[in-house]
């Protein structure tokens, strides 16, 4: 704990002389590294690349929809644009973003380990991601694909004239990257915890990733075999999903959504984990209901596997099945609500500061609330008949995935940037960027709720003129959103080299990762830490130098007994 005393007010902070960034040099030392921190940075670069690829396609869609007749793209090109937007964003950005970057970097640090359980498999999973990404990029530059990111059969297997096979193979391959990451996290959390790091002392970020990993290892193999069969059907003529041989396209949808609905939780659970770290840190208060939030992550992972046919209410499935799945869809909202209430309750009576990560956390709370509640609208059979496949659905899942997952991702990136690079980002610029993002996001996607409610179908390249005003709003919002995404990329990159030196624990926060140097040494901790405190326990951590109401006071002061015991 001797390294944890520095705070943001300390004078003349210096970067540690030896850290994971400068311990070895040269391109080989990066491409052949087995250090989880370096692999996280490799992921950061490639995932950001795919984010901007997907963002480019998104801008094409929004520009095209400025006018009712669609002046920019042909109908066929438009189909390819929204398909590739979905493929790039879901499989190559959202799924790996928080787990493979922040999770990879932080889980060993948070549990006091030197590395993940399988460092070489960790590197392998990055290479698998690169190979899968290359296949998919190949499909994008050789004509793209036009099936929608869902690859529904028989369009994808028989009728589509686009480069479906390489894209499907690419996603199939990338799935194994996700499986191996999940496997690595699960084993790491089970076997690599430092002495004293009991299960209920794990940060909720780790609990969230544990739950995510369960979804990854149980769900991803199913979509792998599904897309594998679809690829074999297209290439070798197998017939499971081909009605001409008596095969069943609905079977494809069941198998696809068995993974792809839980995949939503692969995207949102890690973001929830980030929020569970941000809120106690910037409210200076122990997280309310730690055990409930941890259990809620697991509950979401389990129940999340039982709701998939709510994507298929209109496929002619049995009414009774639809009723059951509608009920289960409502059920999965309960653990999410538990988390949201607990975060809000944590704020109550806290000593809140509005640093950038906290702005993202607030953004997450509001947007996830809207996204989650509109999900319940869609879980209602009657309402879903009306708004199925409209912009209402598009707005709903963008509120979850962009408003939830991306807000959590950016909040986490800002929060841990001083740990990753050892340097602070420019605070005011970052706050402005967070606000720009929030405004741009709502301007982009809120009008889409209205559009969907009024009946504008998704995936159409033209629309009736009376919808134009909402589409113009949405496109304007998307332009603001683009600026909001470019800003952090620029100033975070700048800060990594020229930012103010941050010190070990600039916020200060309670996690184990903040007790080591920033950036950490290659082996993470000079001596294996022994954990003797509960998570988020600001009251009993005098070394943090915080003057928390009811705490033992700043370092060196005699202990002051809290007035009402533990809260």
């Amino acid at each position: 704990m001797s390294t944890a005393s520095a705070t943001s007010t300390g004078p003349a902070l210096k970067l540690p002389e030896k850290n994971y960034l400068n311990s070895t040099y040269g391109i080989r030392s990066w491409l052949l590294t087995t250090d989880h921190k370096r692999i996280a940075l490799l992921y950061l670069v490639t995932v950001t690349f795919f984010f901007f690829v997907g963002g480019f396609f998104a801008m094409m869609i929004r520009l095209h929809l400025l006018t009712p007749s669609g002046y920019l793209l042909s109908a066929d090109t438009y189909n390819r644009m929204f398909t590739m937007h979905g493929v790039a964003m879901i499989f190559f950005f959202l799924i790996p973003s928080i787990p493979a970057i922040l999770g990879n970097f932080l889980i060993p640090l948070m549990i006091g380990a030197k590395d993940l359980a399988f460092p070489r498999i960790n590197l392998l999973s990055w290479y698998i991601y690169i190979i899968g990404g290359t296949f998919t990029l190949y499909s994008m530059v050789t004509g793209g694909l036009d099936t929608g990111w869902t690859f529904y059969t028989p369009l994808s297997t028989v009728y589509s004239n686009s480069a479906v096979a390489p894209a499907v193979v690419g996603i199939f391959i990338t799935g194994f990257s996700s499986i191996l990451t999940g496997l690595n996290f699960l084993v790491t959390v089970h076997t690599m915890r430092a002495p004293g790091m009991t299960w209920f002392r794990l940060p909720l970020f780790v609990w969230a990733h544990y739950a995510t990993s369960v979804v990854m290892i149980l769900g991803t193999p199913v979509v792998a075999i599904t897309l594998g069969l679809a690829a074999m059907e297209r290439v070798f003529g197998l017939g499971f999903f081909n009605p001409a041989m008596g095969g069943d396209p609905i079977l494809f949808q069941h198998l696809f959504w068995f993974y792809s609905h839980p995949a939503v939780y692969i995207m949102i659970l890690p973001a929830m984990g980030v929020i569970s770290e941000l809120i106690p840190t910037f409210a200076r208060k122990k997280l309310f209901g730690y055990h409930f939030v941890a259990a809620a992550s697991l509950a979401i992972a389990v129940i999340g596997f039982l709701v998939w046919t709510h994507h298929m209410f209109l496929t002619g499935q049995s009414t009774y099945a639809a009723i059951a799945f509608s009920f289960l869809t409502f059920l999965v909202a309960i653990p999410s609500a538990i988390k949201t209430f607990n975060w809000t309750a944590t704020l109550f009576g806290g000593s809140i500061s509005f640093d950038t990560p906290m702005l993202y956390a607030f953004g997450f709370l509001g947007l996830f609330l809207i996204g989650g509640l509109t999900g319940l609208f869609l879980g209602c059979l009657g309402v879903d008949m009306h708004v199925h496949d409209t912009y209402f659905v598009v707005a709903h899942f963008h509120y979850i995935m962009v408003g939830g997952a991306v807000m959590g991702y950016l909040g986490g990136l800002h929060f841990w940037w001083p740990k990753i690079t050892g340097r602070m980002y420019p605070e005011w610029l970052a706050r402005i960027a967070a606000l720009v993002l929030f405004v741009g996001f709502n301007l982009t996607f809120f009008p889409q709720f209205v559009l969907g409610y009024l009946g504008m179908p998704r995936r159409y390249h033209v629309y009736p003129p009376e919808f134009q005003v909402y589409n113009v709003m949405s496109t304007a919002g998307a332009s603001i959103l683009a600026i909001g995404y470019l800003l952090p990329m620029v100033y975070l990159t700048w800060a990594a080299f020229y930012g103010k030196v941050a010190g070990n624990n600039p916020w200060p926060a309670t996690g184990l990762e903040w007790t080591t140097a920033s950036p950490p040494p290659t082996e993470n901790f000079e001596v294996t830490p022994v954990v003797t405190w509960e998570p988020y326990d600001f009251h009993n951590r005098p070394e943090l130098g915080l003057d928390v109401p009811g705490s033992r006071g700043p370092a060196g002061n005699p202990a002051v007994a809290p007035a009402h015991g533990d809260d």
Partner: protein, 245 residues
Amino acid sequence: MHRTGALYGQFKTLEQQKDTASLGMWIFLVTEVMFFGGIMLAYTINRHTYFHAFAMGSNTLSLKLGTFNTVVLLASSFTMAMGVWSAQTGKKQLLTMFLSLTIILGFVFFGVKYVEYAQKFHHHLVPGRNFDITYCVSNPSACPDIDAEDLAIERKEIDEAMEADPDLNAHAQLYYSAYFGMTGLHALHMIIGAGLLFWLLRNSFAGIYGPVWNTPVDIVGLYWHFVDIVWIFLFPLLYLIDRHK
């Protein structure tokens, strides 16, 4: 990380390292169960819907070759288990022998599989334009590897099944989609397993596995047994549907 003997830098003890590796392999096998689970679901639904076609398809397989391969794989499971035992008890020459035997049995399996696959191509039983479930019963001379008595029974059965399911030829392609999909995936896993066994064999020549350090043998053994168990399911699912009475 840095290698210190057989202990990797991120671990504190060999025991922790061994537990970690075993847990990793067990979790990987869970993902494999889900992976095969998807195609088994597709099989189950189609078999339920098109039972006649699936029974007909199953009857065109060679029960002799399938049974022989099942015995071969069970024997390879035995030799693999003996290999793990040899490593744990430090019998290094026995380990080399059992690993070699396991590899040989694996290749016997591949050889038989090759014969079976080749037959399917000759018998017009590969899904696609030329698929014809009646090819052999209509052209017995083109299928010298099936005896006449078998074909006569099949002729009768196909006629009956055609009455129950006029689209039998299309639906039998679903059976063969399952056959090639499932046995193909299984064979792919066997090939990966054979590669791992060669790697173990090379290390066993160097004599690095003994009572202290045998985790790789242990977890490759787990994998090999899993692949065998998959076949134990595939054999009845594919070969034993309503065989000739």
